[in-house]
Every structure is written in C-alpha cells, then in structure tokens.
C-alpha cells in the first residue's frame, strides 16, 4: 500500500518496500508459535549462523517481561543496539496482527539507528495456534512448534501450522522421551500444508538451525532479486 506515497513522505506507513530515502528496506521475517517451542533459541541460532554474512537485527515481543531480549543480550548473539523489545499489553497476537504499529516503529527505528540492515527477525510472544503475523508487518513467517507439545498439533492445523511460509518442528531430540511419532507429524503437516515447506530440527545437535538458515537465505535472495 502507498508505494507511491513513501518516497517523499516523512516516514513509511506500513509494508512499503522502500524507505523514505528510496532505498530498499530490510526483509522482515516473523517467528511465532506456542509458548516455549524454541522461538528465541531459533532466533539466537539464526543470528549466530547469519551475522557474519548479513546485517541483522531482532525485535522481541514479550508478554510481561523482557526475558527474550535479555536472553539474546546475555548470549551476546548481536550487539545490544540491534535488539529491541516491544511491550504487548497482555495480548501478543494483537501486537503482531491486529495492531502492528508498535512493532512497525521498532523495525523502522532499528533501520534508522543501526542500518542499513539486510534482515530483521521479529519474534512474537508465545501464543496459541491461531496467532499469525500481519502482512503489513512481515514479509514471511516461520511457525515454530515442538515435538513435546503433543504430536497431534500438525493434525489440528490452525492458521499458524497451515499457512506459515515455513513450519519448524523443533526439539526432535526429545521425541523418544515424550513418545512423539515424527513420521506421523510429517505426514499430518504435509496434509495440512500441501507444498509449503516443513523443517524438523533439534538445536541440541548437529546440524542445528542449518535448514532454517538456508530457507532464510533463499527468502533474502528472492527479496533482493
């Protein structure tokens, strides 16, 4: 929207692909999913994997603390000025879908203050299976679930599982201990998502976040093409 409006205007309004100075803005990728599925751990691993080849920043949406931002700071995955926490007022999905203004400000301020950036990762606060990102906020979204949350989640579907650009099934290392059937999860995900990609990963063992990082690289190549 307002593509014609953004070049001479005082600041961008929403999903405009260009910044006020006419340059192309960073690709924005959202990470959503249930509480504790491994969103922050995936963000941290992506930062480590990509920070030497890309200019990166992260926005976190915590529900009532700054824990995710503080974890990323403690782990020193990025310099502190590249990590911003947004306060979401008890309602994480509102801040990423229905009223995205605070998150848009956070991504734009990051570009202004530490840019130029290639990629901004936006982590949602842990939420339910219906929480998805607005297209006004992100260009692509990853939905992160884990094997310990129940192997019937892919079968249950819901907007996150069904429509996310990438579905990540995390913590595969735990499958034997919680009795999750990975083959069944893969078949259910395939049935829900048709051609949309699914990655099974464990961040506790090799190759860790590699497949997701490759997917992000491909998104970026398409964005800058």
């Amino acid at each position: 929207m307002h593509l014609d409006h953004s070049h001479d205007g005082p600041s961008a309004v929403s999903a405009d692909a260009h910044r006020p100075d006419g340059s192309r803005r960073a690709l924005r990728i959202g990470l959503g999913g249930p509480v504790g599925s491994g969103k922050t751990a995936t963000v941290a691993a992506l930062c480590r994997a990509l920070r030497d080849e890309l200019s990166l920043a992260v926005v976190t949406n915590d529900i009532y603390t700054r824990e995710d931002a503080e974890f990323l700071l403690r782990e020193a995955v990025l310099p502190p000025e590249r990590i911003t926490a947004v306060e979401t007022g008890a309602c994480p999905h509102t801040a990423i879908r229905d009223d995205i203004s605070a998150n848009l400000e956070a991504v734009e301020d990051l570009e202004d203050e530490v840019g130029p950036l290639d990629l901004i990762l936006v982590e949602s606060g842990g939420d339910n299976l219906t929480a998805t990102f607005s297209k006004g906020l992100v260009d692509a979204q990853i939905f992160v679930i884990d094997v310990a949350g129940g192997d019937d989640i892919p079968r249950k579907g819901g907007p996150g599982v069904t429509t996310a650009d990438l579905l990540v099934v995390n913590k595969t290392d735990l499958a034997p201990y919680v009795g999750s059937d990975l083959a069944r999860m893969a078949a259910d995900a395939k049935a829900q998502r048709a051609e949309l990609p699914v990655v099974f990963q464990s961040l506790r063992s090799e190759p860790g976040v590699r497949d997701v990082a490759d997917w992000v690289r491909a998104q970026l190549a398409a964005w800058t093409a």
Partner: protein, 224 residues
C-alpha cells in the same frame, strides 16, 4: 461531519497502539485502588475530569487548527511525569501512522515530519479528526471517551472483571463524558482567541506518581 467516520476513529479496535496501555489501571490495581466495578468507576471518573478534560481540550484545539507545536508544548507542561510523556508521544506516533494510512492528508504528513518520534496523542487525535472530516466536538468526545475506555478494558484483563460490569461503568460515565467534551470544546474555542493558556490544566497527582512507579517495574502486562 460524518458520524460513521467518528465511529471508525473512536473504535477501540482502531489500530493505534492503545491495547498495550492501561491508562494507569495496572498500577492502581496493584496498589489496591481498583478492586472491582465500583472502584473502577471512581478511578475512571477521576481520570475523566483531570487528564481526560486536558486531553479533550488539546484534541479539540488541534481539530480547530491551533498550532500543533504550541499544543504539544502545552501538553508537556501539563504532564509532569516523564514516563507519561513518553507514553503519550509513543501513542501519538502510533496514531499518526494509523491515521495517515486511513485518512491520507497533507496536514498529517506535515505533523509526522515535524514530530518524527511522535507528538502527544491528543494533539495527533485532533489533527486526525480534521483529516477524517470531523470537528472539534468529535475530537473532544473521542479523547474524553478514550480516557476511560482504556482503563476499563485493561481492568477486564487485570482483574478478570466481568466485561458486562466494565461496560456498564462506561455507560454510567457517558453523561459526564459528554459534559467534559463540551467544556473542552469551549476551552479550545477560547484558545483560538485568547492563546494557549486558556487550556485547562487539571492534574491527577496519583496518576503521575503511579506512572513513575509502574515504569520501574521489571514485570508488567501493560506499557503504561
């Protein structure tokens, strides 16, 4: 004026960031000053006649075309708490974005250029009302109503208060909210002739103190 445009602007779902703010209710709940519908009503009544009146007057004056920079300074002078100033500017910036996308206008673009990090929310509200083809009365009603609707919906989440009771509180306050809006418009008209000092300066010290206390909490549900 378009009555439907007023409904769009006043809708609690208008995407301008309000959902993340409690208008002081979170701190008041923790301090034991809001415990149910009756004390929520007292809290909202206090807000309505103090910061609500000031916000409504600022919004009405901005809708009449009074200089936004002067109004923003006047808002600062009437907001002792630094945390509340930050919150008001954040909300103003978010409203500016939503309003520019909803009712594109040269005046809103100009405001965004002069205040890239946001002007006080009521000032933006008044300019947004102009852009929507609304008048000072509409802007004042929006600001007065927002001053109580935000805390009411936050309290539903904070106390698991019965949502019907919270809405009934707002309905009971409606006649007072109308009177506050009328007074605000009168004040705004006086500003046009007599200058910025005609704006009311009602203040609520507990809201200011509470906002500073709240801003220092490590764990909170709402941004203010």
């Amino acid at each position: 004026m378009s009555r439907a445009a007023l409904l769009v602007l006043a809708d609690g779902r208008f995407p301008a960031g309000g959902h993340a703010h409690s208008g002081g209710a979170e701190q008041a709940v923790k301090a034991g000053r809001i415990t149910g519908a009756a004390s929520l009503e007292d809290f909202c009544r206090g807000r309505l006649h103090t910061t609500g009146l000031v916000a409504a007057s600022l919004a009405a004056a901005a809708a009449l075309g009074v200089d936004a920079v002067a109004l923003d300074e006047a808002a600062d002078a009437r907001t002792p708490s630094p945390a509340l100033r930050v919150a008001a500017r954040k909300l103003g910036r978010q409203l500016m974005r939503a309003a520019r996308a909803t009712w594109p206008s040269a005046e809103l673009d100009d405001l965004a250029r002069r205040f890239p990090k946001g002007a006080h929310q009521p000032v933006v509200l008044g300019v947004a009302a102009r852009a929507a083809g609304l008048g000072a009365v509409d802007a004042a009603h929006c600001a007065a109503y927002e001053s109580v609707s935000g805390p009411a919906s936050a309290t539903v989440r904070l106390l698991s208060l019965d949502p019907f009771e919270a809405t009934a509180v707002l309905a009971r306050l409606a006649p007072e909210s109308d009177r506050v809006a009328d007074r605000a418009v009168e004040a705004a008209r006086r500003v046009v002739d007599g200058g910025i000092d005609e704006l009311p300066a009602g203040s609520a010290p507990l809201l200011e103190i509470g906002a500073e206390v709240h801003a220092a909490w490590a764990v909170r549900l709402f941004a203010s």
